[in-house]
């Protein structure tokens, strides 16, 4: 495409004024406008978002467009399967464009496990409507009643006459735009023939041949390499900077605009040299360190904003219930700050052409990035295009747009395209972390173990998974954001990991106190049948036999459940803690249910991978910091799971074709840490209440 000021992003034009056919050729276009969020569901009260559109061209291919992005979680293939399913097309005839702000529907961002319930549903509706329009076109062409037309493998066939016509033929010369009617009926999952079956990733070949181009691989002629000057410690303020020595280097551009100090150079080594040549003075203010962090967070409450989700839930009379309880327990659980550490560090490439800016950005929020960049550079949003190339994973870590702004400013000043790629150290120090969480729980039970009161207060993490999946008459549950000394934001299964770890550990403590078997104790209280089914399935597969913990024999087993984002998970862990106290996780069994399964191959991969990632946070991942400095900003000092850490992981997927499909990228993580903590308790009688459980590999 040649960029010119006349280009207007599709989402900023009414559906029937978009130049679909100039861009993609003749055909049939079916549009689902952005949807008002369900008032009782996720995103309630927010702007309309999502929607989708599909173009069926003369080449017989379906091009589908949505605002969500793929950053390695496998949704491209899963969503393509849904389009193929509705349109009765082979997967290879579906092309899905994700998160390109010139072409795709506006979307809030790819987080909160919303790709399947939102984009998936929107593509199914759009696909179903497209199928109906194709059927009508075919009925006319084949002189048959629409009910007599059958679609399969890109061909429409009249049942009685046996005559047939290919989709490409049907839309020849057509330039027709339709909206999805309100009665569009997607194929129910119980009738799926393509979706719901094992399938290969659509990009597999380019990955294994090294031909997939990630943002950090992109190169355009004349491109410079950018570097940003960052403060030496969190909270340090720039007092002054002298650019002259950097500017004197050959081909180097150095800028200081607002808070941004950055350089661009013809090659990466020169860019590093230019960065070093900057003379900057910083003013640091003392910052809290790791050892006092729990107290600091307790004493620095703030108003919730942005990524905080809040919960204030109260039923019954908690105070009275504690007064009369024969059994009561009060404990505190914590989780550390941890890093996303995506294999591909943050990367961006910015290029100007005729006053229009194109930014290739590994991001989970392209439309937010468009806003941030156009605001910062005082451009009309029409003059900014964000494209999301394949991205080396995100895990909630690629939401911010600062780097895009930096690259855009550098490119403008230098008069050349500029690519900025974080070094691993920058990725560790200049990104943001999963918030540390402090959870205080107080509970009460009858002599027979029946839970009567539950007080749950979480500090510096959100509401996810804070609500009880158990029946307890008196409950008080709330959360309180804190002023964090380290920058913190979204993370895969952020608050749910903390809240679920605390709750499922605590529940085990109560079960042990009353001498109950952990599985039986949970089943006795569970208020959700679907979750109970997942728990029973996992317990059975794991060969669970009832007895109270701890066995304290050096071998142990633990179990935990979780219900979050409409997904249900149960995880079983078996551990060994020999004389030398070195923890060995011997086996993990995880069961997961998230409604109708769209892409079982990928879902299994997400559950396995999520379990591995969760093991890192459970066992050894932690950011260490002192007075504003990150002490372990490298893979040699920040340990992430490796081959040697991974036990056999058995994954059981429970398919529910009768229920809507939900996301599977987050919830499978949340029962791992408590299952392992409970297993360590069973093996040793020692209760560990802080994540990571075994930072140096041993049980204290």
């Amino acid at each position: 495409m040649t960029a010119s000021p006349a280009v207007i992003p599709f989402d900023l034009l009414p559906p029937n004024e978009r130049p679909y056919f100039d861009r993609f050729g003749n055909g049939l276009v079916v549009v689902l406008p952005p949807r008002q969020p369900d008032p009782s569901g996720w995103g309630a009260g927010g702007p309309p978002h999502g929607g989708a559109w599909i173009h069926v061209g003369e080449d017989g291919k379906a091009r589908a467009f949505i605002g969500k992005v793929e950053v390695g979680q496998g949704t491209r293939t899963a969503l393509s399967l849904l389009v193929a399913e509705e349109l009765r097309l082979p997967l290879s005839s579906v092309e899905l464009t994700m998160g390109d702000t010139d072409l795709c529907p506006w979307d809030m961002g790819t987080f909160g496990s919303r790709s399947m319930p939102d984009a998936g549903e929107h593509l199914r509706l759009t696909g179903a409507a497209t199928r109906t329009f194709l059927t009508e076109l075919a009925a006319v062409r084949l002189s048959a009643a629409p009910t007599e037309v059958e679609l399969a493998e890109g061909t429409a066939k009249a049942r009685d006459s046996g005559r047939s016509v290919r989709y490409g033929e049907l839309v020849k010369g057509l330039r027709r735009v339709e909206l999805v009617p309100s009665d569009a009926k997607p194929n129910p999952p119980s009738k799926w023939t393509r979706a719901g079956r094992p399938a290969q990733d659509v990009g597999a070949r380019e990955v294994v041949t090294g031909n997939r181009r990630y943002t950090s691989d992109l190169h355009i002629p004349g491109m410079l390499h950018g570097k940003v000057l960052f403060p030496p410690s969190c909270g340090a303020k720039l007092r002054s900077v002298d650019l002259s020595r950097a500017q004197a280097l050959p081909g180097v551009t150095a800028i200081h605009e607002g808070d941004l100090v950055a350089v661009a150079a013809p090659d990466l080594r020169m860019a590093f040299a230019a960065l070093k040549a900057l003379r900057a003075e910083w003013e640091a203010t003392p910052q809290p360190s790791e050892k006092e962090i729990v107290e600091y967070l307790r004493h620095h409450p703030v108003e919730g904003e942005d990524f905080w989700d809040m919960v204030h839930h109260e039923t019954g009379d908690v105070g009275a219930a504690f007064g009369s309880a024969p059994v009561s327990l009060r404990e505190t659980y914590t989780t550390a700050y941890i890093a996303h550490a995506p294999m591909e560090t943050r990367a961006v490439l910015a290029s100007w052409e005729d006053g229009r800016l194109t930014v290739w950005l590994g991001t989970q929020t392209p439309f937010r990035a468009r806003e941030a960049v156009s605001d910062a550079l005082e451009l009309s949003p029409s003059n900014v295009r964000i494209i999301v190339p394949p991205t080396g994973s995100g895990f909630g870590g690629k939401h911010t747009s600062d780097l895009a702004v930096a690259a855009a400013r550098l490119a403008k000043a230098a008069g050349h395209p500029v690519r900025v790629v974080f070094s691993r150290e920058e990725e560790f120090t200049q990104a943001y972390f999963r918030p540390m969480a402090v959870v205080d729980i107080r509970s009460a039970a009858e002599q027979d173990g029946t839970l009567t009161a539950w007080e749950f207060h979480v500090l510096n993490a959100g509401a996810s998974a804070a609500r009880l999946p158990y029946r307890v008459a008196n409950q008080k549950i709330d959360n309180q954001p804190s002023d964090s000394p380290l920058s913190q934001a979204s993370y895969r299964a952020l608050a749910a990991t903390a809240n679920n770890f605390a709750r499922e550990s605590h529940l085990d403590e109560v079960a042990a106190r009353v001498g109950a078997d952990p599985v039986e104790y949970r089943l006795r209280h569970l208020a959700d049948d679907r979750l109970a089914t997942v728990l029973r399935t996992v317990a059975e597969r794991a060969g669970w036999s009832p007895r109270p913990a701890p066995a304290a024999s050096g071998s142990g087993r633990g179990i935990a459940v979780g219900l979050e984002k409409e997904g249900r998970v149960a995880t079983f862990a078996e551990v060994r803690v020999p004389e030398d106290r070195h923890l060995e996780v011997v086996r993990i069994v995880t069961g997961f249910e998230c409604g109708a399964i769209v892409h079982p191959t990928n879902l299994r991969s997400q559950v396995e991978g999520g379990t591995v990632m969760a093991m890192g946070g459970a066992l050894f991942e932690a950011i260490h910091f002192e007075n504003g400095r990150i002490l372990n900003p490298s893979f040699s000092r920040y340990r992430v799971p490796r081959f040697r850490d991974i036990p056999p992981i058995e994954v059981i997927l429970l398919d529910r074709p009768d229920l809507p499909s939900q996301g599977g990228g987050e919830t499978p993580l949340i029962a791992v840490a408590p299952a392992i903590a409970n297993a360590i308790y069973d093996a040793t009688g020692k209760r560990l209440r802080s994540l990571p459980l075994t930072p140096d590999g041993t049980v204290p």
Binding site: G72, Q200, G392, F395, G610, F643
Partner: protein, 159 residues
């Protein structure tokens, strides 16, 4: 300038023995299949074959690679025909974001060249220097075992 032999072709690159092989491959030859993950030898994303053995390109001064045969991920397939290890990674679905995959495949090729039927323990030990943040380790082990069967089934040794 000096000559560097990559994927069977000689390339002229500036003589600067301190430059890492990774830098030259990615920035000068634009062979971007080899990835930067850490620059400190900890992640294995940058692995390439030097005389058939996997090395971390970020830790290899380019001078050390002069006069030797370098094979990157781009050089494994024979035209349309995938290398058995690549084929096995596709079949096993052994990647998510795919960013670690080049390094994993190169490490596996190197392993299979010296041990054609590695046990799970051998695979873990040989590949422990390769990180997959997406957590695909079990599938990668599966892929390496498949590759070992594919190569022995085809009767040919893995190069």
């Amino acid at each position: 300038m000096t000559k560097l032999r990559v994927n069977g072709t000689d390339h002229s690159v500036p003589i600067d023995p301190d430059r890492s092989l990774l830098y030259v491959l990615r920035e000068e030859l634009r062979l971007t299949g080899t990835k930067y993950g850490c620059g400190e030898g900890e992640c294995g994303a940058c692995k390439v074959l030097v005389d058939g053995v996997a090395v971390r390109a970020c830790q290899t001064p380019v001078g050390e690679a002069v006069g030797r045969s370098i094979v990157t991920i781009e050089g494994l397939a024979q035209g349309e025909h995938l290398h058995p290890v690549q084929q096995a990674f596709v079949e096993a679905g052994a990647f998510q974001c795919g960013f670690c995959t080049s390094g994993m495949i190169i490490a596996a090729v190197s392993l299979l060249a010296r041990s054609s039927q590695p046990s799970v323990e051998e695979i873990r030990a040989a590949m422990d220097g390769n990180l997959c943040r997406c957590g695909g380790y079990l599938r990668i082990i599966d892929a390496v075992q498949r590759a070992s069967r594919l190569s022995s089934g085809a009767g040919g040794a893995v190069p």
